[in-house]
Symmetry: C2
Subunit: 454 residues, 2 copies
């Protein structure tokens, strides 16, 4: 068993979290601080986000502790005083978290989670929380676009090999499943998250045999109920004819070829030719799986051009969110003690204080508009989206299972009007500030201008 997340990754933090903590410790500053995690703007062609990574963030907070080995390393840097390191040894996260459920659809500037606790504890968690929540939110938000374009066709995550590291490979499988994918090629993700795994064969498998058809025959013999044949190693149409021969041999044994797979070339055109080869041979039950550089854009092009693809394997471009490989997200202090706070750096304004997001639905039950409000402010008619999920450092109740979060995403995504799902130039979903937030924001800005700038 691996050690708990919060132990393994207590030092997976920016050094400044620890230098700031040492200052707070020295000054005896222990008032409650609230930090808000949000995304500042949409990448090009994006108009919504899908929340992911909450479970990981909570598991980290619930188990955060600095073990002896880590403290010994910190001591070796000679940056910190003994009494501060002794204090770190006893640090646990004792605060509260309010958050959107995983699978939620949300929009820019809306808090995804807010962490409240003694300032050192809430500050120390910044780096890990941004790292964890931004990655899964990034991938889920990207994968949801493929889910939209596929219109019910099953999607499989093939991203692992070119994901940015081992953790990213696992999280891409989890987050794409959360956003409606059916399964993954990633076996460890299958084991850890209970996701269905899918796999065929590589070109190397084909080329390690003197002839393609021998490679096909062996696979059909070893996996008679799960045969998927990769037919483009040398020539798609020849490959399809070899697959037909093997399928007929399988029929004679009472088995059925499941899929042929295409991995290169003009998939729209080739899939139509291959479909004809299969149909002409009476193999209308054999499906076509396509892989190779797919994302929502290529998938839309292939389908618009009449491609006959039943299932898409979506790899690298989803797995690294290639057109938007990071979000402009932040974890900002919004309240310290009784005082709402913000920074005023050029172009980077924070919404002050503890908040809540209220969602309004139209008469058909579809998403209509959101209002960002102060946490305790009454917003008649709106449905509050953030829930309290951690209190006094303990996770409240059982978290939803991954499957439940996926079901929640699919139900909510069904309520998002079509225009907002457009993969190019979507309109902006309306998000406004409540009267209470608007007034407080203006008041705090004015106070800072008077105190620090005038």
């Amino acid at each position: 068993m691996d050690r708990p997340l919060g132990e393994r990754f207590a030092l997976l933090t920016d050094l400044y979290q620890l230098t700031m903590a040492a200052c707070y410790f020295e000054a005896g500053m222990a008032e409650e601080a609230t930090f808000s995690f949000f995304i500042r703007k949409y990448p090009p062609n994006r108009g919504f986000f899908v929340a992911g990574g909450l479970e990981e963030a909570l598991n980290y907070l619930a188990t955060l502790r600095f073990v002896e080995d880590d403290l010994a390393y910190l001591e070796s840097t000679r940056l910190f005083q003994r009494k501060f390191l002794d204090y770190l040894k006893s640090v646990r996260f004792t605060g509260e978290v309010n958050a959107l459920p995983e699978g939620s659809i949300f929009f820019k500037d809306e808090p995804v989670l807010e962490v409240s606790g003694p300032v050192i504890e809430a500050q120390l968690a910044e780096t890990f929380i941004i790292n964890a929540v931004s990655l899964q939110t990034l991938i889920a938000s990207k994968a949801a676009r493929s889910f939209h374009v596929a219109r019910g066709r099953p999607l499989i995550d093939f991203g692992l090999r070119r994901c940015q590291g081992t953790d990213a490979g696992l999280k891409a499988a989890r987050a794409s499943y959360l956003a409606g994918f059916l399964g993954t090629s990633n076996v460890l993700a299958g084991k850890l998250y209970g996701i269905s795994t899918f796999g065929t064969m590589a070109h190397s498998y084909i080329t390690s045999f003197p002839r393609e058809i021998e490679a096909f025959r062996l696979f059909a013999q070893v996996f008679p109920d799960k045969t998927i044949l990769l037919i483009d190693t040398y020539d798609d149409i020849r490959g399809a004819r070899h697959a037909v021969r093997v399928a007929k041999e399988m029929e004679a044994r009472g088995k059925r070829l499941q899929y042929v797979r295409l991995d290169s070339g003009d998939i729209a055109a080739i899939s139509q030719e291959v479909r004809k080869v299969l149909d002409d041979a009476g193999l209308t039950y054999v499906k076509i799986l396509a892989s190779g550089g797919f994302d929502e854009f290529k998938m839309a092009r292939v389908l618009d051009a009449g491609g006959r693809v039943d299932t898409f394997a979506v790899g690298t471009k989803m797995g690294v969110s290639a057109d938007a490989p990071y979000f402009d997200c932040a974890y900002k202090l919004v309240k310290y003690g009784a005082r709402p706070v913000m920074k005023l750096s050029t172009g980077k304004v924070t919404l002050v204080d503890k908040k809540q997001v209220h969602r309004f639905y139209d008469e058909q039950g579809r998403l209509h508009r959101d209002v960002i409000a102060l946490r305790e402010e009454a917003v008649p008619g709106g449905a509050p989206l953030l829930n309290k999920v951690m209190e006094q450092g303990r996770i409240l109740g059982p978290l939803p299972t991954l499957k439940e979060s996926r079901d929640y995403f699919i139900s909510q995504f069904g309520l998002l009007p079509e225009p907002y799902k457009a993969i190019q130039d979507p309109p902006a979903y309306p998000v406004t500030w409540s009267p209470g937030l608007t007034a407080l924001q203006a008041k705090v800005e004015q106070e800072i201008l008077e105190r620090e700038i005038k």
Copy 2:
């Protein structure tokens, strides 16, 4: 202690590696296979790569094994027969690896590493090797561009929070250090890799105090020898004046303010103003550190516009290689048994057989051209770049330390002529095929055309 890499990540593989292995096992195919890892093409504005991740790949191969818990999971999928799972239990990597040293500069189509071993062993390793080598190579190749533009100014990795996961955050610190960075904000990377760590304070630290100058004073008191003050929370110039007051107070105590940090706005203009504020106060020794959205492009713009920045913190855009978040790389079978092999899919041709890269230097000792040759082919005058680093599953000799690999990169990068380092539209470095490789490539292609296509 975490378990060995090859045990923790035996299942971090695409399912097809296991289905192919089951076929090879069933057919008794155990001949030696050689796989070659290479990058097929340059992303836009790129003309060279920096090799990273070899140590991780070798540690994985040296410790690869399927533990009971993993075998139990595989059994639960009902995909595999008992005798194959029994075989998997005993699988170890017993082959050979030839590779470029970490820190090497290389070019497209050149093998970065070649893995030879019984086909199941060499095939099983594909996913992890691509994942590990492509990530560190991606980040090192990106970071080297900042190293070039900085012209000797120290660079610090600030990427962790928006890197794609925990592993990516660690590897970004390691790979950017490999490519000439001085240090990182990532404390765990500091501990694991022995890299220097750097840190200042966040805007939240400033805003948690009623007044900016109080936050500055406390930091200067707690870290008197490492004081870096973030001055842009409310207004850069006011912040610089507050920093001057604190620096004078420090002088009275015999201490010196090290840095002020800028994190937003027009850094070229602001840094000049701040420099003037500092110099006018007699604080010519106080340096300026800039952060906030830096990559090689922004760094070049700021320096070209006369920015007075002494040290750059480079974060997200380097940490995810934002303009090229993945490489078109592959791990392809190039030889099976005595037979050199390739695939012919549209636009994706593989160079056959075991290979070596020979580098030719000009009279000044600078990189002149490379020749890709067959492994044992004589290439007079060229310096062979790939070394045998693993034999019979054992790592040969002590690998270079990270510091040694960094020194190697820096020395080699100094020998790469300036035009190839251009961050926009670099010329193509000349790489040709040897006579032996050219002839064999043509022969194998002809044989395949005759066998599979005609």
